[in-house]
């Protein structure tokens, strides 16, 4: 699928500044470009997945200023000035805290076998980090409810909850 996200400098594009996974970038973007399409089609950050493209599956979940949202339902121009973290940046979030490895939630997903095909996993991971940043989910029921915006057609839900609970019991993660 060809995504018209605006050639740099083309008429109608708007200059925005985003900090993506710690790196500040000045980008010319057409206003109708979603944040998801900007990440995947222009910036080659293809870790963030396009599932339904309508906010129903959660595969496109990223963190904007630490808050999880569906990147398919936001326009890139509207996030001018924001800090974006995608699945590619989770490990560097951990590295910022002196850990030279995967983010704890990534390690926990591996440890708990919290995926099969892996397509939903980047969204699940970003959503998990968002959930822990929010700090409202404590019980397994609350984790399940707070993760209901992320669909896993392989059905790894039980192990996803295990992984999140594990990291939360270790004191959460940013």
């Amino acid at each position: 699928m060809l995504i018209d996200s605006g050639s740099p400098g083309a008429a109608g594009t708007i200059g925005i500044s985003l900090t993506i996974n710690g790196e500040r970038r000045n980008i010319q973007v057409a206003p109708w470009t979603t944040l998801l399409d900007l990440l995947r089609e222009r910036l080659d950050l293809t870790g963030t997945k396009k599932g339904c493209d309508h906010g129903q599956c959660g595969a496109c979940t990223v963190l904007v200023d630490g808050t999880r949202i569906n990147s398919c339902l936001t326009l890139a121009v509207m996030k001018d000035g924001a800090e974006i973290t995608t699945v590619e940046g989770l490990a560097s979030l951990a590295a910022r805290e002196g850990k030279n490895s995967l983010h704890p939630i990534q390690e926990a997903f591996v440890e708990h076998d919290a995926f099969q095909c892996g397509y939903c996993t980047p969204g699940q991971l970003c959503s998990s980090v968002g959930l822990m940043n929010e700090g409202h989910a404590h019980s397994r029921d609350e984790i399940r409810e707070a993760m209901s915006g992320n669909i896993c057609r392989c059905g790894a839900y039980t192990n996803i909850v295990d992984a999140i609970e594990d990291v939360m019991q270790q004191g959460g993660a940013r």
């Binding site: 109608g12 906010g55 959660g58 979940t61 999880r68 339902l73 121009v77 968002g130």
Partner: protein, 337 residues
């Protein structure tokens, strides 16, 4: 998605001016409904006025109640300590709706202005009076399991999907708007409209008006309330029927009752006659059933949604029982007590 102009004003006055009288221009805040509709070509705005930079993100004390800025996100409202403490019904209703990601993006004003809709509204290959006035209603006689049982018309049987708005109806919130002709306040009961012969209009906002805040009155219900939502799956689904119930009790006698239904009509459905019937009566199953009968007396089924009438009857009784017992529905443990 169609091509459009994009502007990003910094004040309410600039935003109102930027929208102007252009019927093809739209405000955008969270974007969770509008962008979705644009992807289906249901909405094709010529200009988007991005209002996310307007100073409407505060929750303030006002006249003994709270004023919620139009841009406060649904998540921020739901988890706000004053809202949780004083308006737990609102917090509960918001948390019953959408997903965490959507609640993080969606705004208070945008929640009210999400379209009243059904699957035919989204499907541009089918007739729909709401999308294209005069083309007919595909849901009448079509697939209408989720559709309205109250207040519908021969032109449209779609329902308003907001959970937040149902709680606001029970709390008698007031919507503050600003527009080319100044500011005005619209009681929530008059904010959304029934389809009648003009289903393209979901609300009574005048052209060019913008929501700036939602006011919660001082009267809050902190003990005897519930938001009970019944749906096809336990999370992240629209209500088939939902009930916002709030009571004040004198012992076992009902002093005040508020009751609003979601998922059953083109707008949050409140019946003050039923509330009056509850007042002064004992808080018993019989009383609640009488109120349910009164509300559903005028219910009208479509070809495949007749079950919703009985579902609504039972939901009203159960909701009032939960409220009377002071055992509000949990939005994480889904068992209905």
């Amino acid at each position: 998605m169609n091509r459009f102009d994009y502007v990003r004003p910094n004040t309410v006055a600039e935003a109102v001016q930027a929208l102007g009288a252009d019927p093809a221009a739209r405000f955008i805040a969270g974007g969770t409904n509008l962008i979705d509709l644009m992807k289906y070509d249901v909405e094709r705005p010529g200009r988007l006025v991005d209002i996310t930079r307007l100073p409407l993100r505060d929750i303030e004390e006002r006249d003994g109640g709270l004023r919620i800025g139009a841009l406060v996100t649904n998540a921020t409202v739901a988890y706000d300590s004053a809202v949780k403490e004083r308006y737990p019904l609102l917090s509960s209703a918001i948390l019953a709706g959408a997903s965490a990601q959507l609640r993080n993006a969606a705004s208070t004003g945008g929640n009210l202005l999400q379209r009243t809709r059904c699957y035919y509204f989204y499907d541009t290959a089918t007739p729909c009076n709401k999308r294209e006035p005069g083309t007919g209603c595909s849901a009448i006689g079509g697939v209408n399991r989720i559709h309205a049982i109250l207040g519908a018309s021969e032109h449209c049987i779609a329902t308003h999907p907001s959970d937040m708005a149902v709680a606001l109806a029970a709390l008698e919130a007031v919507v503050q708007v600003s527009g080319p002709n100044g500011d005005r306040a619209i009681p929530i009961a008059e904010f959304h409209r029934l389809p009648g012969d003009d289903p393209a209009k979901d609300t009574n906002l005048a052209p060019g008006e913008i929501i700036v805040a939602v006011d919660l009155p001082a009267k809050s219900f902190t003990t005897n309330f519930t938001y009970l939502k019944l749906r096809d799956r336990l999370s992240y689904a629209f209500a088939l029927v939902s009930v916002a119930a709030a009571l004040e009790l004198d012992g076992q006698t009902i002093r005040t009752a508020r009751l609003a239904l979601g998922g059953v009509a083109h707008k949050p459905w409140r019946n003050t006659e039923a509330e009056a019937l509850l007042q002064g009566e004992p808080a018993t199953r019989e009383t609640f059933a009488a109120a349910a009968d009164l509300i559903l007396r005028e219910a009208k089924p479509q070809s495949t949604n007749g079950f919703k009438i009985e579902l609504a009857r039972r939901a009203i009784v159960r909701g009032l029982e939960q409220a009377a017992a002071g055992t509000p529905q949990s939005q994480s443990d889904k068992r209905i007590q």
